[in-house]
Amino acid sequence: MAYETIIGLEVHAQLKTRAKIFCGCSTEFGGPPNGHTCPVCLGMPGVLPVLNREVVNFALKTGLALNCRINPFSRFARKNYFYPDLPKGYQISQYEHPLCEEGFLNIDVDGEQKRIGITRIHMEEDAGKNVHGEPGDPYSYVDLNRTGVPLMEIVSEPDLRSPREAAAYMRKLRTIVRYLEVCDGNMEQGSLRCDANISLRRVGESALGVRTELKNMNSFKHVEKALEYEVRRQARVLNEGESIVQETRLWDVERGVTLSMRGKEEAHDYRYFPDPDLVPLQVDAAWIEEIRASLPELPDEKMQRFMTAYGLPQYDAEVLTVSRELSDYFEACNRAAEAPKSVSNWIMGDLLRECKGDDEALAHCPVKPEMLAGMIRMIEQGTISGKIAKTVFGEMLKTGKTPEVIVQEKNLVQVTDEGAIAGLVDRVIGDHPEQVAQYRDGKEKVFGFLVGQVMKASRGKANPAAVNKLLKEKL
């Protein structure tokens, strides 16, 4: 049976404010347990939460970047449930009147652009962290430092049609929140979390099938793998004539399967009601315009500009604009080198191999943009060959020295003097009579071997074009 996959994602992004959403406690990660707490976030009786304005600014930025409508009136609600990491017995969230609604985000999959709808974006507080003891320990331990750290929940429409599209959506969302500098986007550390709703329906049908909710996918790879597994599982169940049970399932990383949470309580009865401790939030046009004016150039715009201003292929432009740090690196390097395609090739090849797409590594990379630019200029001017440049790049990485110093110290300047090269060519012809005879008999392939011998004799420094020319002449 052929099925169509329907996926919607709920993403929680931890906002990079200094203080928590309703109190002045620090949001810093990794403080001493319960060291960043106060009567408000501990849920003591009689306290009054007050909204951190920066949380609204960050959510507004995201809403505008995702083409949302900003609601002029929004308010907070209590979501009631009991868990030890939730000291008040309710989470302050938004329910009927979220801050942002009806936006969209474009993703690219297999060269095709697709628009994914954003249902809503709302603000809420995070819960604390439970630490479980050794097996057999009858207790769990609670650290409330994370309680009250601001979160933004971004809910997509069920517009995603494959696990790959879901992963592409997550990547794009991460790129955007990082461009906006509202969230660090670290999935492994939990500052970006993803739950997925997934269902299958027979091709051609319009009604949605019964869905399951997947949790616990803490990397892009796992989002894709968990969804792929769930597609196979649901298809198997449906093919056997059974029906899907609406439930929450956890991705088990070790075993690579999703497991039902049945048996654990699923309190879907949250009894939301407006939080009387917090007054409504009114966002007027002036506030929205202030935020709009502060938006940086976003990834899609930047990609277009890289294609038109620098003449780069779409693939290059996409790779280079995946983070602000990387695109800044490219622009700084190209400002000095003025050779966009070469700069792009070196960044996408040798540089990213070293930095593994990690902006932290890029920031600490010993090869600074000006250094890479200097090296590319030396190639363009014929001072060094592309082959020697690989050696220079390796040295820059190892020592942090400038390419000019490396080329001088190691005596790597390209030999273009035809007299010097001719001497080497003569020597190679004399040393390899057998191959020379083969070449003269029409075995053209041997030519490459002879070029290689000359290059080797020059320790890579001979200008390849000159070697080619002289060798042809002399043979």
Binding site: R18, V50, E54, Y139, P276, V279
Partner: protein, 94 residues
């Protein structure tokens, strides 16, 4: 609106209240009477009345994004039923 015994049991469970049988019967009647009283509001014409967002007519009470002092750990844990080092200790979850 007629409140049933089942609804009272459900709400009591969500609130983690252990009610005795006679309490369930008593609260079923009380809740039913309270909701019947609230139902009186339906007799009013409210089409032209803005829903009340908050009893105090104000909005946008916000704080700056500034970090202040928290509590000392001894104060944080002072009322905790159990503790270990700097943690609250609770019955094992999971």
């Amino acid at each position: 609106m007629k409140i049933t015994r089942g609804q009272v049991e459900h709400v009591a469970h969500l609130a983690r209240l252990a009610l005795r049988d006679e309490e369930i019967a008593e609260f079923t009647g009380q809740l039913d009477a309270i909701l019947a009283y609230v139902d009186k509001l339906n007799e009013l014409e409210t089409d032209d009345v803005e829903p009340t967002a908050h009893v105090i007519p104000m909005g946008n009470v916000v704080r700056e994004d500034a970090v202040g002092e928290g509590l000392l750990i001894e104060d944080v844990l002072a009322n905790a039923p159990g503790r270990k080092d700097r943690f609250f200790r609770v019955p094992r979850i999971l």
